[in-house]
Symmetry: C2
Subunit: 412 residues, 2 copies
Amino acid sequence: MNIAIAQSGGPTCAINASLLGVFRAAYKSSEVDAIFGSINGIEGMIGDNLINLKSVIRTNEDMELLRQTPSTVLGSCRYKLPDYEKDTEVYEKIAACFEKHMIDSFVYIGGNDSMDTVVKLSAYFEKTGKPYRVIGVPKTIDNDLPITDHTPGFGSAAKYVATTVQEIIRDSSVYSIDSVTVIEIMGRHAGWLTASACVLRAIGQEAPHLIYLPEADVNVPRILDDIRRERAKHQAVIVAVSEGIDVSSLAESAGVTTAGVDAFGHKFQNGVGKVLERIIAKEFGCKVRSIELNVMQRCSSHLCSKTDIEEAEAIGAAGLRAALSGHTGKMMYFRRISDTPYETVIEMTDAFQCANLEKKFPKEWITPSQNNVTDEAIRYFLPLIQGDVKLITRCGLPMHFDRSSFEAFTNL
Amino acid sequence: MNIAIAQSGGPTCAINASLLGVFRAAYKSSEVDAIFGSINGIEGMIGDNLINLKSVIRTNEDMELLRQTPSTVLGSCRYKLPDYEKDTEVYEKIAACFEKHMIDSFVYIGGNDSMDTVVKLSAYFEKTGKPYRVIGVPKTIDNDLPITDHTPGFGSAAKYVATTVQEIIRDSSVYSIDSVTVIEIMGRHAGWLTASACVLRAIGQEAPHLIYLPEADVNVPRILDDIRRERAKHQAVIVAVSEGIDVSSLAESAGVTTAGVDAFGHKFQNGVGKVLERIIAKEFGCKVRSIELNVMQRCSSHLCSKTDIEEAEAIGAAGLRAALSGHTGKMMYFRRISDTPYETVIEMTDAFQCANLEKKFPKEWITPSQNNVTDEAIRYFLPLIQGDVKLITRCGLPMHFDRSSFEAFTNL
């Protein structure tokens, strides 16, 4: 029996650890022969673009490197399966790929879009009487999947955010002038990653003084009041703001649009950081700067959380075992048993409970002032960022898994 | 006898290590009694705003924390001394501060602007027959000081750049579409930090495929030709570009301006990353994104170079010893003896040889194609990024030196 693995959605520091988890569990299983990687998510299964993973992951060092390499070594996609009652062709192509390569189990590592694929594909196989199993393994730095306590990839991103925000706090407090620093953090629909900056309180850091989440009741008069109050207390005010904030409504109430015009005369949308920067500078006339943590917050493996990486590997392995045990249409998830000592178990749920759904940051963890989060949030976040991974380095630089050998082993 | 220390210019990861070097050398010296820190660079000497450093740096842990804290714990300034023949008042205030606190030696840690202060102040003291000594200790992530082989703070910034660029390379290669990623790196006048991304070649990384420095002959037709050629070879083309590139002339030759208009109708200047992003997208119609490494490249102490931090501490100590030996108006610097094994010695030179001057990236290390650097550059950069500092952490986060105790000990 053969199995296949694919990765989907945006990069994280942990998605290759989950791939390794599936690979190792498959390798150890006496039931599994070939282990295929599908290139660029489900697109690889549709286009019969597979790689024989045993040919490219050969040594212990290969495995270590895979674990410490950010982003997806198998490539990713944003492809959404069509409704199978309207368009069966794609499904037939996927089924043909399973059949051709004698694949019995397929593990899909991804976010809520990928769980939609797990739901549709497993339903199609069931309906058409095909014995193939499809299991979802979660990942996303946004931490916005329902059911699971948290998602692999989030802990490393949170560790990056907290560590980097603390460094920016130091950077922001050198001159003898008043300033406001706005740090824009990823999370298109949920504020989890922005909120995670609160863990700095656990080590006695007062900043970020203000944390604005999409789930909070945030508006311009309130923001300006907040900043006025913090400026009275601190020379360098630090604000963490989620990119998921409804920036259009903020801009509208400040009497501006979010649209800028670039050097070519083309309109572009300013993010919430830039818009807040302008609104604050206009009101207070002080130095204001906005900083985007950009893709670094999702790919900085040199600063990953050991807890996150180990969990990502474990949940990948559990996903493969679930498939081998005959389950299909399920997503693996973490259930937290306790914060201190930190303890979780891996369980499974129907993937449709997560597909296309988002878990918001809990309203009850937002302070009444709507500009910060409670200590419950700190207790939730802290265990997820613990531990450092000892990286294999050369010349003072972390080594990454080398994909160049892929060419020889794809398009079997 | 008492001594004073101040820090100036932009933040780095190593400037507090140099402060520690001065402090420790002073602490060990039987000649030195009080060790003062001047708050916000020379401004603290002008305004008599000093701190008794022995009161705030008390334990070995304090020293360890100081070493691992980015940015300047004493604060910084951009203050430039007036010409002392035109305006003596400021100089008299500084001299009064020396006299009041019985300060004999002053060590100023900073970049080329700060060396201007060292030159002027030491000349004033000499001219007025005051026995005070002023010594400069270099620092800047830009690495653009003359005479010295390199500057403290640069090695850590270069390590951040190389490590992060490699992670962005991974992040940029996940989807099955063509893309160009432009990474804008600091260096207002010199390309050292941007060039340092070349060290990835030492570990077999082909990208960044193109490296554009202010010292190279860069123009739009050449850039577009370069990118066309690289696109033929790579699905994800990675470009490292220095913020110091003459972006106006690039924009002009592309028939655009660098000015944008923000949401408030205010004009703003686009950086070279954004301008190149638009120029490339217009030409090729592919996915293009630009990423700024922003302040993270100068304050990410969690990723500092051990070599850099140790050297910064050593050169601070050497600066203090030079002052105690009676030298004044000098800047300490590194002379490199050999690349492999890496060996440097610390010497001193007249500070006027560095004041207000910039050391450019060598033209002979730029490839004839003007879009990359030679292997000599790799050999130069590599030793500077070696080694990791074992950080004191709590709750999974690096601890920083706590400045809150300062309040009780400033304004003596």
